[in-house]
Amino acid sequence: MFNERVLNILQESFFKILIPGITYTIPLTLVSFAFGLLLAITVALIQVSNVRVLTPIVKFYVWVIRGTPLLVQIFIIFYGLPSAGIVLNALLAAVIAFSLNVGAYASETLRAAILSVPLGQIEAGYSLGMNYFQVLHRIILPQAFKVSVPPLFNSFIGLVKDTSLAANITVTEMFMVTQRIAAKTFEPLALYCEVAVIYLLFCTVLSKIQHMAEKSLKLEQG
């Protein structure tokens, strides 16, 4: 199947796919993850601190996002909201959907990490006369952050691949471009494998970064 024609197509399409990867997939991932992480930190802190009105609201948010498919969420935001008078461009709709999604999942990661800090550490903080915010800021969060690095990278890597769903709402990211080339050349197997390899490359780089981050945090030593 990998005759000369297919090899030529693969060669020609490589940069055609890689460039939207660099101009769309990567920025979409980074921006959505950044907003999602901010959201996740806020949600996790509200949950563990048990704020009167806000805690039920964020619990509802996590419940809805985790209980519905990401693709459906994307469709509601891009195709659904215009009926309610809210028209968003495709890229913005994608960023909102991905940020909300990461926010819900990562907030649970952070919440678990916060809860994993041993009670003795917290009591030691209180025994020195620290208040709740000092204990949170000086003791709980630095320890929780370390614990949450591996699962957060999990979400990050997951998001790289999830951005392919934005192809469904006209965002011309890697997968959308690949679909177009495949339709023109009638070589779906070769081209979809090619884009898979590019996703794999991106995620390999992230895995390496994760490894370096863990090393610099001395995570292996516990």
């Binding site: 003795g120 030691a124 025994s127 020195l128 006369g129 620290m130 030593q221």
Partner: protein, 245 residues
């Protein structure tokens, strides 16, 4: 002087402390003994409000706290009180993400708002006192249990507390490592720190305790010097003292 009046604490239906009245004299060592589940640790934790009493009064050198059911005490007052007490835990509880010296200056810098340079100087002096100045930049996990507990003692001392509380400070340690921790406590007792210590080590209690409190079922059964307790004629207490000799 630390005075405790009519202090009670329940966990749901369980009476853990039942109308405790106790005077802890300044510059003396008070040892709390008693069988498991007698409320020793809860009493100690009430003295720095990690456990908040249900009712009763505590007065530490004029700082007075009254506890009443359904009347939570102001957080600020709890924090101010805690600053005056130093706690050493059974399981050390050193901050695992901080080096030895960072553990020691954490309280002075964050709570007492001391300058870092000043806190470092004091901290190094305290490390010298517990014989660990060469470990200043290591992490707790790199130290033995005995060394960790000595750092924990230095961390408590760094707050210049008016009373030092020890919750079974050696029960997580091998006998070998126990000695070095007991040695430090002995030294502090000789320097006339005000110390309250919960322990099962009767030999040590006898040696350093100016006053021994025998607690059972949340009540003080007897208090006095070791020989007073031993010769009190109370069979329950003599038996307890003998079994743990």
């Amino acid at each position: 002087m630390l005075q405790i009046r009519d202090l009670s604490k329940n966990y749901e239906d369980l009476k853990v402390l039942d109308q405790i009245n106790l005077d802890i004299e300044s510059n003396k060592t008070t040892v709390i003994i008693g069988p498991s589940g007698s409320g020793k640790t809860t009493l100690l934790r009430c003295l720095n409000l990690l456990a908040v009493p249900d009712i009763g009064e505590i007065d530490l050198n004029g700082i007075h706290l009254s506890f009443l059911v359904n009347q939570p005490i102001q957080k600020k007052r709890i924090l101010d009180f805690r600053k005056k007490t130093g706690m050493v835990f059974q399981s050390f509880n050193l901050f695992s993400h901080r080096t030895v010296i960072e553990n020691i200056i954490e309280g002075p810098v964050t709570v007492l708002k001391k300058k870092k340079s000043e806190a470092m100087e004091d901290g190094m002096a305290l490390l010298k006192k517990v014989g660990l100045e060469e470990k200043a930049n290591q992490y707790p996990r790199q130290l033995s249990g005995g060394q960790q507990q000595r750092v924990a003692i230095a961390r408590a001392l760094a707050m210049k507390p008016e009373v030092l509380l020890f919750d079974e400070p050696t029960s997580a340690l091998d006998p070998e490592l126990e000695i070095e921790v007991l040695e430090i406590i002995r030294k502090l007792a000789k320097e006339h720190y005000t110390i309250v210590i919960v322990t099962h080590k009767m030999g040590f209690a006898k040696e350093v305790g100016d006053k021994i409190i025998f607690l059972e079922n949340g009540k003080i059964l007897s208090q006095g010097s070791y020989s007073e307790l031993y010769n009190s004629g109370n069979e329950r207490i003599s038996r307890f003292l003998n079994t743990l000799q």
